[in-house]
C-alpha cells in the first residue's frame, strides 16, 4: 500500500492506499464536500457527469491550474488540487445549471424530495437561479412493475442506473436509449423489471426517476420516518436493513450499509418482502379453540390455558429457522433441550448439522459475503446462490471479475476505480469461476465453465477436484476423460488463485455436495492455499436453529408418540405444513394433547392450534439471527409491540417461569451465552440495552420529524411519553444521541447530505467499514461465531465420512432408476421464502408452479411444454400432484419442482418420482 502526500486547498494530507484511489474518493474520505453524480462507491468512476471538477496544479509555481474531474484523477504523491478555487466552484455550479435545464420543478411532489442527491448537490454548488428560458425535453415514463416507479423527466443522465442494473447486477431488460439531450433510461416496453436487484435503482438513481413504488402508495419523507437497524429475515445471508415506519406502518425497507455482508445493496425479496408484517391477517390477539373454531381470548386467560397445558410433563417444543435465536432458545428452555425440535425434517436438520460441523472445522476460513467478493477463483458446487442467497450471488458476480481485472490493472495500468476502462479491457472474459449445477442460471454468464449434472455427479466433480489438489484424498472412480479434464482445470485454477473460494449449500438437499465442498477446502488448505468456504443455508436462522435443536419433525413425532402420557406441543413461528416431510406435520399435532402456537402470521398450523399467542415480527421485536457464515446479527424493533402482541421469546420466558418477571433481551442473551458457549459471541452482536452515547439513547426518529406531538391528537391531545424500549440502546423518540455505533446506526444523514449518499460520512473511508463511534468499539456489524484455526483433520473426516459423522463420502455416479425421475427442489427469488411471499407487491412476481424436465425425458414421457403431468413420489402416501411442464436444460433423469411456493407447499426434497402425462388440468 502506497502513501501519497497531497495538497488540497493548501492543506497537506497523506492518503493511504493511494494507488487504488481517485481524488474524489480521497476528498470524500477526508470529509471534504465535493459534489458528484456518476461516481458510486460500489461502481466507481466513468467521468460522465463532470460534476466533480476541481482545479489541478502542475506544481507550486502553477497558479492557473486546469479543471479536471476528481473522480478520474489518480491520487499520486505531490498532487495539488483545489476544491474551493472560484473557477472550479463556478464550473460545478454550471454543471448543475445544465442539469436543471431539463429538470422539472417538482420537488414538492417528488418521492425523492428531502433525500435527493440532486437537491443536495444543487444546494452544495450554490446554483439558485434558472437562466434557461426555453422548452424542456420530456419523456413518457413506463410502468416497471410492482416495485419501482419511473418518472423519466427527472433524469439527469448520470448513467448510474444502467451501470448498476446491467454491468453490476447482470440485468438485461433496462437500458439506455436515444441520443443527444434525449437519452432515455428504461425498458423497450412497459413491464416489470426482471432483475431481482431492481429495487436498488431507488438509491442508485440520484434523483426521483426510480423510486420505491410500495412506499409511494403511502408516501413519507425521510425525515418523518422512524428507522431502526434491522436484519433481513428472507434468507440466510442476513443483509443489514433499515426499515422505516410512520404511524406504526412499515413504509419501506432500505439497505443498511454493512461492509461485510451486503455493502450498499439489498435484493428485492429483502426490500419488498417485509410487508407481511403489516398484513391485515396478522395474528394480533390470543385465540382459543372452541367448538365453533378459534375465538379471541383475553391474554391472561390464554396464558393461563397455556400454563395448564404445559403443566403436564412431556411437552415438546418446535422451534423455527425463521425465528430468532432468542425465541428458539426460550422455547428450548421451556420444554428442555432434549424436547426441543425444529420445524424441518430430520434429513434437512442432519444436513444443516453437517454444514455447521464443516463451518466449525473451517473456522476462520468461513467466508463473509465480502470475503466471497474478494475471491479470485470460485467453484460453486450445486447451490443455486442466485435465488437462494441473492446478495451473495451479487457479490460472487463481482468476484468473477477480480482475476481479469487484476491482470488488466497490471498489464494496462488501469486504475482499480476506472470502471469503464476495466470493463472494456476485460470484456466478458470471465475469470476462474466455475458453476456446477443441475440447471442453468444467471451466474453461468460469469463462469469460465459450467457443468450440468445431477447432485451426485457434481459432488463427484468436487471430490475429483480435491483429489487433484491433494493427491492424498481419495478420488472418484470412473469419471471419464472429459470430466476429469474439467476437474483438473478447476483444481489448477483454484491452486493458481490467491484467494480461492468453494461454495455449496443445502439447496439440493445433498450431503454429498457439502462433503465435496469440505473436501475441496481441506485439500486447498493442505496445499497451503488461503482458501475460503461458503455454505448456504435456506433461511434467516437455519444455522441458529440447527445449533439448538435436538432433532427434526420426525424425531419430534417419535418422541410424542412414544410418550407415556399425551403431552402438549408448542410451536414457535413455524408452519409445520411447509416442512419437507410427508404426513408428519399434521400427525404431530394429532399426537399432541394440545397445540400452542406462537406466531405473528396465520398459517395452516396456527389455524389448527388449540391456542394461539400472537408474536412480534422482527419489526416490533428484537432478537438475533445467525447467518449462513455464523454471523450473529441483532435486529432491533422498529416500532413497539401493541398489546397483547409481544416478542416470542418474552412470552415463552413468561411461560417458563411463572411468577418472575420475564427477562429482557440482555437476560436471554446472557443465558444463551452461558448455556451454549459456542454462541457466546451473540452477546456482542450489538451493544446491550444499557448502551448510551454520552448518557443518551439513540433516537429512532429524525430530528426534523414533523407532527410528532399531533400524531395521536385525535385520541389524546396531550403529548404522550415516548414508549420505553427495554431491549436496546434505541429510543422511540426524536431526541437523543447524535452519533451511534455501527450496529446501532439507524439513519444516514449529515449536514448538506440528506440522501443516503451521506453514508461516506459514517465510514472510516469511502467504501470501507463504518467508523466506530467510540474507542474500543468494533467496526463490524454483528459477531461471528466461527473463526478459529481450521481443523484440517476434522474437515477431511467430515468430507470423507469418518467415524459415523460427516458426509456419506464419495457417491456413486448418478444412475437413473428405470423411468423414474429424481425430482430436485428449485428455489425462486420470489415465492420460495415463506414470509416474503405474503407481501402483496412481491406476490405478483411469484411464478406459477411448474415441473421442469429436460427435452429427452419429456419426449420419452410424452410430455410437451405446458402439458399437464402427474408426479407421484416414490413411497409417498400423499396424493399425486398435477403440474404443468416446463422444458428446461437439465440432465437426463433429473427434474425440478419449485420449492416452497405458496401454491405448492411442502415439496419433498430430492426424491424419486414417477412422472406421466395427466388428463387432469394442472393447478
Amino acid at each position: 500500500m502506497s502513501v501519497a502526500n497531497i495538497i488540497v486547498d493548501g492543506k497537506p494530507y497523506s492518503i493511504e492506499g493511494a494507488e487504488s484511489k481517485n481524488l474524489l474518493e480521497a476528498c470524500l474520505s477526508l470529509g471534504l464536500d465535493l459534489p458528484y453524480f456518476c461516481w458510486h462507491p460500489a461502481m466507481h468512476s466513468v467521468g460522465a457527469c463532470r460534476q466533480c471538477g476541481v482545479k489541478l496544479y502542475k506544481d507550486e509555481a502553477d497558479a492557473r491550474g486546469r479543471i479536471a474531474m476528481a473522480c478520474m484523477t489518480p491520487v499520486v504523491n505531490g498532487l495539488r488540487a483545489s476544491i474551493e478555487d472560484p473557477e472550479a466552484r463556478a464550473f460545478r455550479a454550471g454543471i448543475i445549471e445544465w442539469l436543471m435545464v431539463n429538470h422539472p420543478h417538482d420537488c414538492p411532489i417528488c418521492d425523492e424530495g428531502g433525500e435527493c442527491h440532486l437537491q443536495d448537490m444543487t444546494v452544495m454548488t450554490g446554483h439558485v437561479r434558472r437562466r434557461y428560458r426555453f422548452e424542456k425535453r420530456t419523456h413518457r415514463s413506463q410502468d416497471l412493475g410492482p416495485f419501482v416507479a419511473h418518472e423519466m423527466n427527472r433524469c439527469i443522465q448520470c448513467y448510474r442506473c444502467v451501470r448498476f442494473y446491467r454491468d453490476y447486477a447482470g440485468g438485461k431488460d433496462l437500458d439506455v436509449q436515444g441520443w443527444h439531450d434525449s437519452v432515455f433510461f428504461g425498458r423497450t416496453e412497459d413491464g416489470a423489471l426482471e432483475s431481482q436487484f431492481s429495487g436498488n435503482l431507488c438509491e442508485v438513481c440520484p434523483t426521483g426517476v426510480f423510486t420505491d413504488k410500495v412506499q409511494a402508495s403511502r408516501p413519507t419523507r425521510k425525515w418523518d420516518l422512524r428507522t431502526s437497524p434491522s436484519v433481513c429475515p428472507h434468507c440466510a445471508v442476513g443483509c443489514s436493513t433499515l426499515p422505516g415506519e410512520r404511524y406504526g406502518e412499515l413504509r419501506r425497507v432500505r439497505p443498511r450499509y454493512n461492509a461485510d455482508v451486503n455493502g450498499c445493496f439489498l435484493c428485492d425479496r429483502g426490500r419488498f418482502g417485509q410487508a407481511f408484517a403489516d398484513s391485515g391477517d396478522r395474528l394480533r390477539h390470543c385465540l382459543v379453540k372452541e367448538a365453533g373454531g378459534q375465538v379471541p381470548a383475553p391474554r391472561e386467560a390464554a396464558i393461563a390455558a397455556a400454563r395448564a397445558a404445559l403443566s403436564k410433563p412431556g411437552a415438546i417444543g418446535i422451534g423455527s429457522p425463521r425465528a430468532s435465536l432468542e425465541t428458539n432458545f426460550a422455547l428450548r428452555s421451556l420444554v428442555g433441550a432434549d424436547r426441543f425440535f425444529v420445524a424441518i425434517s430430520d434429513g434437512e436438520l442432519a444436513l444443516h448439522r453437517l454444514m455447521r460441523d464443516v463451518l466449525r472445522a473451517a473456522g476462520r476460513r468461513v467466508a463473509s459475503p465480502r470475503e466471497a467478493e474478494l475471491s479470485d477463483a470460485v467453484l460453486v458446487l450445486g447451490e443455486d446462490v442466485w435465488n437462494g442467497a441473492p446478495i451473495l450471488a451479487l457479490r460472487l458476480r463481482q468476484a468473477s471479475r477480480n482475476a481479469p481485472n487484476e491482470t488488466a490493472m497490471r498489464e494496462k495500468r488501469i486504475p482499480a476505480w476506472d470502471d469503464a476502462a476495466l470493463r472494456e479491457a476485460v470484456q466478458d472474459r470471465p475469470g476462474p469461476f466455475f458453476v456446477a449445477s443441475p440447471g442453468p442460471g444467471p451466474l453461468d454468464e460469469c463462469a469460465e465453465a459450467s457443468y450440468r449434472a445431477a447432485p451426485d455427479d457434481i459432488a463427484r466433480l468436487g471430490y475429483a477436484v480435491a483429489a487433484f489438489i491433494d493427491p492424498t484424498c481419495p478420488a472418484p472412480e470412473g469419471m471419464g476423460e472429459e470430466r476429469e479434464a474439467l476437474a483438473r482445470r478447476i483444481a489448477s485454477a483454484l491452486m493458481r488463485a490467491k484467494r480461492p473460494l468453494v461454495v455449496s449449500g443445502s439447496g439440493l438437499a445433498s450431503a454429498a455436495l457439502v462433503g465435496a465442498a469440505a473436501a475441496v477446502l481441506s485439500a486447498l488448505v493442505a496445499a497451503g492455499q488461503d482458501a475460503r468456504i461458503c455454505l448456504v443455508f435456506p433461511e434467516a436462522n437455519s444455522l441458529g436453529a440447527a445449533m439448538l435443536a435436538a432433532g427434526g419433525l420426525e424425531s419430534a413425532a417419535r418422541l410424542l408418540a412414544g410418550a407415556p402420557e399425551p403431552a402438549a406441543l408448542v410451536v414457535a413461528e413455524a408452519d409445520l405444513s411447509r416442512a419437507a416431510v410427508r404426513g408428519d406435520g399434521p400427525s404431530l399435532m394429532a399426537l399432541a394433547v394440545a397445540t400452542i402456537v406462537l406466531d405473528h402470521s396465520p398459517s395452516a398450523t396456527s389455524r389448527e392450534a388449540d391456542l394461539v399467542l400472537p408474536a412480534a415480527t422482527l419489526l416490533e421485536g428484537s432478537g438475533t439471527f445467525l447467518s449462513f457464515e455464523g454471523r450473529a446479527q441483532r435486529f432491533i424493533a422498529l416500532r413497539p409491540c401493541e398489546f397483547p402482541v409481544q416478542d416470542g421469546w418474552r412470552t415463552l420466558d413468561e411461560l417458563a417461569a411463572p411468577g418472575r418477571e420475564p427477562r429482557s433481551l440482555d437476560g436471554i442473551l446472557a443465558a444463551i451465552a452461558s448455556e451454549l458457549p459456542e454462541l457466546a459471541a451473540i452477546v456482542d452482536a450489538a451493544p446491550p440495552s444499557t448502551f448510551r452515547m454520552l448518557g443518551k439513547k439513540i433516537p429512532r426518529g429524525a430530528r426534523r420529524e414533523s407532527g410528532r406531538t399531533s400524531m395521536h391528537a385525535n385520541l389524546d391531545p396531550r403529548d404522550p411519553d415516548p414508549r420505553l424500549d427495554p431491549d436496546s440502546g434505541l429510543a422511540y423518540s426524536m431526541e437523543g444521541a447524535i452519533a451511534a455505533p455501527p450496529s446501532l446506526l439507524s439513519r444516514y444523514w449529515a449536514p448538506g447530505w440528506n440522501s443516503d449518499q451521506s453514508l461516506h460520512k459514517f465510514q472510516s473511508e469511502v467504501g470501507g467499514a463504518l467508523r466506530p463511534s467510540a474507542a474500543g468499539e468494533g467496526a463490524e456489524i454483528g459477531a461471528r461465531i466461527f473463526g478459529g484455526e481450521t481443523g484440517r483433520a476434522a474437515l477431511r473426516e467430515l468430507a470423507f465420512g469418518g467415524a459415523g459423522a460427516g458426509a456419506p463420502g464419495i457417491p456413486a455416479a448418478f444412475a437413473r432408476r428405470g423411468d423414474a425421475l429424481l425430482v430436485l427442489p428449485r428455489r425462486f427469488a420470489f415465492g420460495s421464502e415463506e414470509l416474503s411471499a405474503k407481501s402483496p407487491a412481491l406476490a405478483t412476481r411469484i411464478p406459477e408452479p411448474r415441473l421442469f424436465i429436460c427435452p429427452p425425458d419429456a419426449a420419452r414421457l410424452g410430455l410437451t411444454e405446458g402439458a399437464s403431468a402427474e408426479i407421484r413420489f416414490e413411497g409417498a402416501d400423499s396424493v399425486p400432484q398435477v403440474l404443468r411442464v416446463a422444458i428446461s436444460d437439465l440432465p437426463e433423469g433429473v427434474a425440478e419442482l419449485p420449492w416452497g411456493l405458496p401454491a405448492l407447499p411442502g415439496a419433498p426434497l430430492a426424491s424419486w418420482a414417477a412422472v406421466r402425462p395427466s388428463k387432469e388440468a394442472a393447478r
Binding site: 463532470r50 442539469l99 437562466r131 494496462k412
Partner: protein, 412 residues
C-alpha cells in the same frame, strides 16, 4: 507539382482501376514494408514527418509507437472513414477515386503495428465508396496481396461521434458510440480491450508513397515542416467548390484561388480553415499557411483542411446556428456540458435568428463558449463545436447584437 494522392484518379471521374494502380507502382510500397518489417516501417514514417489527417494532426509514427510489443494476442488496425464533419469530403474523394491506395495504405499500417485484423469503418451514406472498396478488396485479395490480414468493411449506422476514435471502437463492438476515457489509449486497450490503432483515410493513403519513394521525398513534397501533400477543399460561396491536392502548407489564399475565388458578387468575410469545428479566421488572414502549426498560431486549427467560407451576404449567426444544430443533434449524450449545453446554444441562436433574442442570450452563448473546453467536457466534440461559435462571437459581435436590437436578421 507532385500529387501522389490524386494522380491516378481518372479525369472524367470514377475510380482508378486495379491494373492502373499497379501499373503506377501500386502495392510496391506494401511489398517493401513487408520486406523491411515493422520497426523499419515505423522508422520510415517517423522520418517522413507524416501527421494524422483526421483532424488532430497527431504524428502517425508516434501513435504507432505506443502499441505495446506483441504478446501473441490479436491487435487491430481501424480505418476511420466515417467523415461526418460538415464541410469535409476529402476521404470520400480518396476512396471513390483510388480505393486501392487506401487498401495498400492500411495494409502497410497493419504491418507496422503487427495487426492481423483491420476494420474500415465507413460512413454508411458513402455507398459508392463501399462499392469501390468492396471491389478493390476483392481484387487485392485474389491477387494475394492481403495475406495474413483479415479485413472487414463495416458500415456505420450514422452518428458524428462514431468518427471520434474511441466512440468508433465502441460502435464496432456493438456498444453505444460514446467515447472512452484516455488513458488507457486505444493502442493499449482498444477494440475488445486489445491494442488498436485508429487512422484516418487520408493519413493511410500517404503510406504507399512514403514506403515506395522514401521519407525524404515525402518531406520534400511539403511546403511546411510536416511532410506530404494535403487534400484541401473549399465550400460555401466560392466560385467553384471542390478539392485539390496541394503541398502541405500552401496559403489559404492559394486554396481559395483554386476555387476560382469568391462567387461573383460575394466578398469573403471569414473562413473556417479546417471544417466545421475550427475557429473562424477573418478574411485578413488569407495568407495563413495551411499547415498544422501555422493555422494554430493564427488562432484556429488545420482540422481536416477543408475550408468553409463565410461571405458578406450570409448571416454569421445563421451560419453558426446551422453548425450548432448539427453539433447539438450529434452530441452523444454522455457528458453533461455537451448534452445540455449544446441544445441551449442552439435554442439561444434560434431565438436570435427568429427575432426573439435577448442580450442575455448572447451572454449565455459566451458562457458556453468559455465553458465547453477540453478537459471540462468528456471528449472533443463540444470543444470543437464551440470553436466556430467562440470565434464568431469575437469577430461578428455586432451581428449578434444587431439581431437583438432589430429583433431579427438583417440578411433575410
Amino acid at each position: 507539382m507532385a500529387t501522389p494522392l490524386s494522380a491516378r484518379m481518372p479525369a472524367g471521374g470514377g475510380a482508378a482501376s486495379f491494373a492502373g494502380y499497379r501499373a503506377a507502382g501500386g502495392y510496391l510500397g506494401l511489398a517493401r514494408a513487408r520486406e523491411l518489417g515493422a520497426p523499419a516501417v515505423q522508422e520510415a514514417v517517423k522520418a517522413s514527418g507524416l501527421r494524422g489527417r483526421g483532424g488532430a494532426g497527431f504524428p502517425t509514427a508516434m501513435k504507432w509507437a505506443a502499441v505495446p510489443p506483441p504478446d501473441g494476442g490479436e491487435r487491430y488496425l481501424v480505418v476511420n472513414a466515417d467523415e461526418k464533419e460538415p464541410g469535409t469530403m476529402k476521404d470520400r474523394y480518396l476512396m471513390e477515386g483510388d480505393p486501392h491506395q487506401l487498401i495498400e495504405g492500411l495494409a502497410i499500417a497493419a504491418t507496422a503495428i503487427g495487426a492481423g485484423t483491420a476494420f474500415i469503418y465507413l460512413r454508411r451514406e458513402y455507398t459508392r465508396c463501399a462499392l469501390e472498396l468492396e471491389k478493390a478488396v476483392g481484387e487485392a485479395r485474389v491477387a494475394g496481396l492481403l495475406e495474413g490480414l483479415r479485413l472487414h468493411l463495416h458500415l456505420g449506422a450514422g452518428r458524428y461521434l462514431c468518427g471520434e476514435e474511441t466512440g468508433l471502437l465502441n460502435a464496432i463492438e456493438g456498444k453505444r458510440a460514446v467515447p472512452r476515457n484516455k488513458p488507457p489509449f486505444p493502442q493499449v486497450s482498444g477494440l475488445w480491450g486489445r491494442p488498436t490503432v485508429v487512422n484516418n483515410v487520408e493519413t493511410l493513403c500517404n503510406l504507399p508513397h512514403i514506403m515506395r519513394e522514401g521519407p525524404e521525398w515525402f518531406k520534400a513534397l511539403s511546403a511546411s515542416s510536416d511532410g506530404g501533400t494535403k487534400i484541401y477543399g473549399a465550400s460555401g460561396w466560392v466560385a467553384s467548390p471542390g478539392l485539390w491536392e496541394l503541398p502541405l502548407g500552401v496559403s489559404a489564399g492559394e486554396v481559395l484561388e483554386r476555387a476560382g475565388g469568391m462567387h461573383p458578387g460575394r466578398a469573403l468575410r471569414a473562413f473556417l480553415p479546417g471544417g466545421a469545428s475550427t475557429d473562424f479566421l477573418p478574411a485578413s488572414k488569407l495568407d495563413v499557411k495551411m499547415d498544422f502549426d501555422s493555422v494554430a498560431a493564427a488562432g484556429s486549427r488545420l482540422g481536416t483542411g477543408t475550408m468553409v467560407v463565410l461571405d458578406d451576404r450570409t448571416c454569421p449567426v445563421g451560419m453558426v446556428l446551422s453548425l450548432e444544430r448539427f453539433f447539438a443533434r450529434e452530441s452523444c449524450g454522455w457528458c453533461t456540458p455537451c448534452r445540455e449545453g449544446l441544445p441551449w446554444v442552439r435554442r439561444s441562436l434560434e431565438a436570435l435568428e427568429s427575432g426573439e433574442g435577448e442580450m442575455g442570450d448572447i451572454e449565455i452563448l459566451e458562457h458556453h463558449a468559455r465553458s465547453l473546453v477540453p478537459g471540462r467536457t468528456f471528449c472533443a466534440l463540444a470543444p470543437g463545436a464551440m470553436e466556430p461559435l467562440a470565434s464568431a462571437l469575437k469577430l461578428f459581435r455586432e451581428d449578434f447584437e444587431d439581431h437583438v436590437a432589430r429583433k431579427g436578421c438583417r440578411y433575410k
